[in-house]
């Protein structure tokens, strides 16, 4: 193990968490992430790859479609491992780039079902909720920041944002949730 | 009829019975020495200077709608000569000098008001770039001052200095800059040209150019064909469409620019202010409205309307710069069609067709150029040589690599 200690994207040793009404926002540093792009002429991998606008979990991985022939792959709990090497073992011949540190993951959960999540989303991003059931994933700007938004469940979102802008993204998400409470 | 305070006084006492039409509505004649296509600011100014300076009075201005219905009637009224590059600076300074004497030369109060323009800077790099620009302005006599933060605070203490993402560090001030009443400019030039014999023909759309053996013979219009020795095209956003009638492709894209005005408010902003960390500029009209704008929408368009993201972007900039405006209301927004050129600078030149002349590529800076553009275009039409302040505005500068790119963004019109 390296004799250096990591920091969370929000700048502390421990992840940040806040609750506003039914919504809880949690910084989630332990999830590993890598990008996966298929190369021309290489056979398709054994993995079941989700199509446009979708994410899919299989074999301990969560694959998120990000573009034609491209995915982001979540490896929950694997942030401190060699994510790219793990993935390369599963998808030989692909272009793989370690991304764990390129991004920050905020999980947003609701204690009151889907409604708070949907009210939150309609203030955050231009996403048609009728087309955003669990299993959906999309890239969408939130307050000028590019993010990947995953509908993990009716009452749960995962939002990946640029690591360097973690503080600004948190401010935006936290503000939306707080104002929802203020509005009652 | 000469306009004056005395005349207004006399008419007020006699029930305003003596006023005459500001211009005639003549039918087109069969032939003119010069036909100007486009009855906007530049076309009308061209006609005025042709008649006034170059003595060419057998001139028609053809306008497809009502005179002044293009960008001259729909802009943020700013005049300034704070340019950087040698191809531009003398021209815009010439324009500023013409502005300064406009009312007297056309006997019409277009309300040229030199209340100053302040370009804010937010970083040392921006300050250095403004210093380079301000010095260039001094070299042509345009004049400029470089303010530090305290200097800006003194002028506008209510700007957002203390809670800003991009703190204001200072600004480049051109005191001679300001605003002019845009419609008044069109009307003033139109009236003055009309008085000198120019035929301003409204509701007359040019539908074709008569060209034989590479030489222009006249124009086809919705009101019949008109012969002309020379044809000058000054149609801003419609340039590509009109020049296509001559088989020419242009280094121009037409883009939509929105402008905005708030409800009338008591005086709050004296001069023109531009935000340096977002695209937002604002002034307050004599009537009290905050007149402001920002980026073009960024896609090719002839629709004369923009979309909401740019509305938000512009006003976000405004709110960040001057959070006191939050409780004022937007009253109206416009979308105009801009002839965005490939380097962000204009073209005043002859074309490959003999007798066909082009005045175009004003991007969203055409209003301030109106007097000099008209003057220089008249000079070119009358003498076949470029005016001394407009020698760089050549059509072949793109092929030859002599672009005038103030922003340094290259051949991408929506970034200029």
């Amino acid at each position: 193990m390296p004799d250096l200690s990591p920091l969370c994207a929000l700048g502390a040793r421990t992840p940040r968490r806040v609750t506003h009404g039914a919504l809880t926002l949690t910084e989630t540093p332990e999830c590993g992430l890598a990008s996966l792009a298929l190369r021309r002429g290489t056979p398709p991998p054994a993995l079941d790859l989700p199509g446009p606008g979708r994410w899919q979990a299989a074999d301990g991985l969560t694959l998120i479609w990000t573009g034609p022939g491209q995915w982001l792959v979540e490896l929950p709990g694997a942030a401190e491992t060699d994510v790219a090497a793990t993935l390369a073992g599963k998808v030989p011949g692909a272009s793989i780039t370690e991304q764990t540190d390129g991004w920050v993951l905020f999980e947003i959960t609701s204690s009151a079902g889907a409604a708070p999540i949907e009210h939150f989303l309609e203030r955050a991003a231009n996403i048609d909720l009728a087309r955003f059931a669990p299993g959906s994933a999309t890239r969408s700007p939130i307050e000028h920041l590019g993010t990947y938004v995953l509908r993990r469940a009716e009452d749960r979102l995962g939002i990946w944002g640029m690591r360097s802008a973690a503080e600004s993204l948190w401010h935006a998400l936290d503000g939306i949730a707080a104002r929802m409470v203020g509005r009652g | 009829m000469r306009f004056s305070g005395f005349r207004v006084f006399a008419e007020a006492l006699t029930g305003h019975k003596g006023w005459k039409p500001l211009w005639r509505d003549p039918d087109p004649q069969a032939e003119y020495d010069v036909v100007i296509v486009g009855g906007g600011g530049h076309g009308l100014a061209t006609a005025f200077y042709l008649a006034e300076v170059y003595g060419i009075r057998k001139v028609a201005v053809l306008e497809k709608g009502w005179l002044g219905s293009g960008n001259i009637g729909r802009n943020t009224t700013i005049i300034r000569s704070n340019y950087l590059l040698p191809g531009n600076q003398p021209f815009y300074e010439f324009s500023m000098k013409l502005w300064e004497n406009l009312e007297q030369s056309i006997n019409f109060n277009a309300m040229v008001s030199q209340r100053g323009i302040l370009n804010l800077y937010h970083s040392d790099a921006q300050r250095d770039a403004y210093r380079r620009r301000g010095n260039a302005m001094h070299l042509t006599g345009a004049g400029a001052e470089l303010l530090d933060q305290a200097g800006v605070r003194k002028m506008y203490p209510w700007l957002n200095f203390d809670n800003a993402r991009f703190p204001i560090k200072g600004g480049l001030l051109q005191r001679r800059a300001g605003t002019a009443r845009h419609d008044g400019v069109a009307w003033g030039y139109a009236r003055a040209a009309d008085l000198r014999g120019v035929d301003i023909i409204q509701n007359c759309e040019v539908t074709g150019l008569q060209i034989e053996n590479g030489r222009i013979l006249g124009v086809e219009t919705s009101r019949g064909s008109i012969r002309a020795r020379k044809v000058g095209v000054a149609v801003a956003g419609s340039t590509s469409r009109v020049m296509a009638q001559a088989g020419l492709r242009m280094p121009i894209e037409s883009h939509v620019l929105q402008a905005f005005v708030s409800e009338g408010l008591k005086p709050a902003i004296d001069g023109v202010i531009t935000f340096g960390a977002g695209h937002f500029y604002v002034s307050q009209s004599d009537k009290g409205g905050l007149v402001f704008g920002g980026d073009i929408d960024g896609y090719n368009s002839y629709a004369q309307r923009g979309n909401l993201p740019v509305v938000e972007d512009v006003i976000e900039g405004g709110m960040a710069l001057m959070p006191r405006i939050g409780r004022a209301r937007l009253l109206r927004s416009w979308g105009g069609v801009m002839d965005m050129s490939m380097d962000g600078s204009p073209i005043i030149d002859r074309t490959p067709v003999d007798g066909l002349y082009l005045n175009a590529g004003w991007c969203y800076g055409g209003f301030k150029a109106t007097p000099a553009s008209g003057y220089a275009f008249a000079h070119l039409l009358a003498t076949d040589t470029p005016h001394e302040t407009a020698t760089a505005y050549r059509l072949d500068r793109f092929a030859k690599g002599r672009v005038i790119d103030e922003k340094g963004v290259g051949a991408q019109p929506n970034l200029h």
Binding site: T66, P141 | S240, R241, M250
Partner: protein
């Protein structure tokens, strides 16, 4: 404005960066200065149907060729620029 992304359906135009005339796909390979100057600087700029390049920068990072009417802003279709480019290269080959 909403762009009908061929893979993702209607998307807010704010997610895109606009480039312009789709002819920019047809870069003259090994061209001379005059050909390149025309490629870089001259545009048809029609008032009507226009084929143009939009980049889904805040989305899937696909370049699209969008067919749009510049008078009405009506969008008549959108394709992946990559497919358009490959098809043209196939035609030329």
């Amino acid at each position: 404005m909403l762009i009908p992304h061929p893979l993702l359906g209607l998307r807010d135009a704010q997610e895109f960066t606009y480039l312009g005339d789709a002819r920019l796909i047809d870069r003259p390979t090994g061209g001379n200065e005059a050909e390149l100057a025309e490629y870089v600087y001259l545009r048809d700029n029609p008032a009507g149907v226009h084929r143009e390049l939009w980049f889904h920068e805040q989305g899937d990072r696909s370049w699209l060729v969008v067919t749009r009417n510049t008078l009405t802003h009506e969008i008549l279709g959108a394709e992946l620029a990559r497919d358009v480019s490959l098809a043209r290269k196939g035609d030329m080959a």
